[in-house]
Subunit: 111 residues, 2 copies
Amino acid sequence: MNDLLGRVGDKWSALVIDALIEGGGVMRFTRIAEAVTGISQKMLTQTLRQMERDGLVMRTVHPVIPPHVDYKLTKMGLSLGKAFCGVWIWAGKHLEAIEKARRDFDARAGG
Amino acid sequence: MNDLLGRVGDKWSALVIDALIEGGGVMRFTRIAEAVTGISQKMLTQTLRQMERDGLVMRTVHPVIPPHVDYKLTKMGLSLGKAFCGVWIWAGKHLEAIEKARRDFDARAGG
DNA sequence: CTGAATCCACCTGGATACTG
DNA sequence: CAGTATCCAGGTGGATTCAG
């Protein structure tokens, strides 16, 4: 369980799931890379592999040239996305409060 | 936002919040260390500091000997715990499915 | 009891180059 | 396009020691 948290709670996984949901559930490698700002190609490959292994995404290779690979959220992946929803909303709602808390804390620490 | 995810989505933070909720909302350092299995003293201190800075916990030092320090979830911390709830539930519900998906994947990969 | 500080092995993750 | 492979800097986090 502990280990599972570290896995699904992974920052990149969450962002990839979000990207896939925003993108309609099916996206190609490069499109995901564009959607998830800041991710390196290596991390994306790694994250995607892991998510595939965990049954969160389905990887489909179309044997054409140039290669064409689709990533599709599975039911489980989608349900995880929904579970994350609460955290997304929380983050959006408390973003300012947290930044203020940090400033206050730093001010106290500095003074 | 991206950065916030990495912060609040941190594995230890989640576990500490969970421990605090289970423990009634107020706990001492050592009690948390016992509740959060596997965390080192350094990580606990670090996590707690960060959470204090983010306004998720309130740290109260009782000037006695031996020292007595209480950590209490703030409203914001509690609300984050509730936001996590969905993910906890999801994890519990899909734990087996994920393990099966992994076995299947590994079997395919191995064969 | 609660922490700070130090040392250090390990892993993460970015940059780059190469393949089919 | 979609990776794989390699190198490497930097951060993570455990163990240990010291202090109030």
